[in-house]
């Protein structure tokens, strides 16, 4: 894998910001888009577009084929056993809401419990709170260690009374970079009669996901972080679960028949896809998946490991800089604070040098509280990130510290 070649595939990387070359270290919030994704969407809009699933004409048939090919690509990406297990949503957030609604209200019973962890994104907290409040399902939170890893003993203890119907935890923290031991989580969940779901929003960008090998029951991710367009996400779920779950949204395309008295539902996955889908975004996402698989996860993971090691070393050497999260198994997301400067001031100073990092609570307020901070600065890497960019970050951070001293 040649990073220079990759960078040429991403037109935005040649932009300058306030006169400085863009150093985009906010891929964890959303990744940039390669030419292949842009071209796929443009090509669809210029040469082959119509609504899908309903038309008998050429444009509609071709667009349906192109859109449905994304389902195959996503199934391949995750090694799903069955393409009907791929449900398209707007993003991870909607995927988790779908499960909280259709599995939570439809299958879980009041008195059962859902387990999440102390390092979840709000998207994997709030839907379960809403389920708790509407449906009487208990919400339990597995703690994390000071290193920022899931506390496995405490996690298992939460399941011991057999009340837990579903475990939903992140596969990789968007704040700490921690990768959770997914296979073990599934084993423990299943051993206690619970289903296991992962928020794979970050994880799938950094390592190959094999849902059959993981043995999990639900897996959610979002297109825009995997170099694809916004407006499309994926929920993978076991077919028998999808079949048992009531639908989430009602409307066109998700029905089998409609009378005013009663409607019946289409087969999975269509039962969960109401209305005109994100057609162009699906077509863009297929290009993103193909692009990622073309490079290969092995190369991506090696590049990321090198970047992360280098960044931990360089940032770790900055006086007064504290890194949050020291997990053994981790991805290319690093949260940090300077003793003399607030995260927002740091972000603004970096931005003035063309370096885009994120500062704030990263949609993980409870984790911030656990870490004892209000916010952190965060650098996150993509396949186009270079060692030189990390050096620029570290050099500039040194100067930021001087500025505030």
């Amino acid at each position: 894998m040649n990073v220079d070649d990759i960078r040429r595939d991403f037109p935005i990387l040649s932009q300058t910001i306030r006169g400085k070359p863009l150093i985009y270290l906010d891929s964890g919030a959303s990744a940039q888009k390669p030419r292949a994704v842009i071209d796929a969407m443009v090509n669809a809009m210029e040469t082959q577009y119509a609504n899908v699933h309903r038309g008998l004409h050429w444009m509609s048939e071709r667009t349906t084929d192109a859109y449905e090919a994304t389902r195959d690509a996503a199934a391949k990406l995750m090694n799903a056993g069955d393409r009907a297990e791929i449900v398209f949503t707007r993003n991870s957030t909607e995927a988790m809401n779908l499960v909280a609604h259709s599995y939570g209200r439809g299958i879980l019973k009041a008195g059962q419990a859902v387990v999440i962890s102390a390092m979840e994104h709000h998207s994997n907290i709030v839907p379960w709170q809403m389920l708790r409040d509407a449906h009487g399902v208990e919400l339990r939170v597995a703690p994390i260690t000071d290193a920022g890893e899931l506390d496995m003993a405490a996690f298992e203890a939460l399941l011991e009374d057999g009340k837990v119907g579903l475990v939903s935890v992140t596969h990789m923290s968007n704040v700490l970079g921690t990768v959770t031991p997914a296979e073990r989580i599934v084993q423990i969940a299943h051993a206690h009669g619970a289903k296991a779901m992962f928020d794979g929003s970050q994880a799938i960008v950094h390592r190959p996901i094999d849902v059959q090998a993981l043995g999990c029951d639900f897996y959610a991710w979002t297109g825009h972080k995997l170099y694809g367009p916004t407006g499309i996400g994926v929920l993978w779920a076991r077919r028998e679960l999808l079949e048992a779950m009531p639908p989430f949204l009602g409307g066109g395309d998700m029905i089998s028949s409609v009378t005013f008295e009663k409607s019946t539902w289409a087969q999975v996955p269509h039962k969960f896809e109401a209305g005109t889908p994100a057609i162009l975004e699906g077509i863009g996402l297929k290009a993103a998946i193909d692009y990622v698989l073309g490079i290969g996860y092995e190369a991506l993971a090696a590049h990321e490991l090198a970047l992360t090691d280098h960044a931990l070393a360089r940032l770790g050497a900055i006086e007064g800089l504290k890194i949050y999260g020291r997990a053994q198994d981790r991805g290319g997301v690093i949260s940090f604070m300077l003793d003399k400067a607030h995260a927002h001031d740091v972000a603004t100073l970096l931005d003035r040098q063309g370096i885009a990092v994120r500062a704030g609570n990263h949609c993980a307020e409870p984790l911030m509280r656990r870490l004892g901070v209000d916010s952190t600065a965060r650098a996150s890497f993509g396949m186009y990130t270079t060692m030189a960019e990390i050096d620029a970050l570290a050099d500039t951070l040194n100067r930021v510290r001087e500025f505030f001293t």
Binding site: H342, T348, R352, G360, E365, R399
Partner: protein, 153 residues
Amino acid sequence: MADTFDDLRDLYQEVILDRGRHPRHGQRLETFDATAKGDNPMCGDRVQVWVAFAPDSTIAETGFEARGCAISVASADLMAETVQGRSKADTAALFASFRDMVRTGVCPACDTAMEQLAPLSGVHEYPSRVKCATLPWHALIAALDGTKEASSE
């Protein structure tokens, strides 16, 4: 080295850095008549403001506790100084002018009070930082109105 950030001196003027580090009014008042919190959930800034009134209902003293960036702490501190001796209506009017200034960078009818706040005008070039500068004001207005919580716009 420091010249790397020369273009940032507009935003981080010396008075901002100084007030951000060592606010003069950065403590809770022992006795007070009103208080309110301000919270900017997106970025994690939090501020609480305490106000004591003079017998004529003008502001006698303002104190605050802030967890936030240099801009928000400096803004709170300059605010505390500037609103002293002002009525509620007067303070609200001052906030309106201040908000215009931090959004646009200009201050058409700048009086002495606004000149004291002028070091914050550089913030208009960083739209997402505007709310750092206005958050303490929202909390102050909420306190004067008898509301307990303010959130930034």
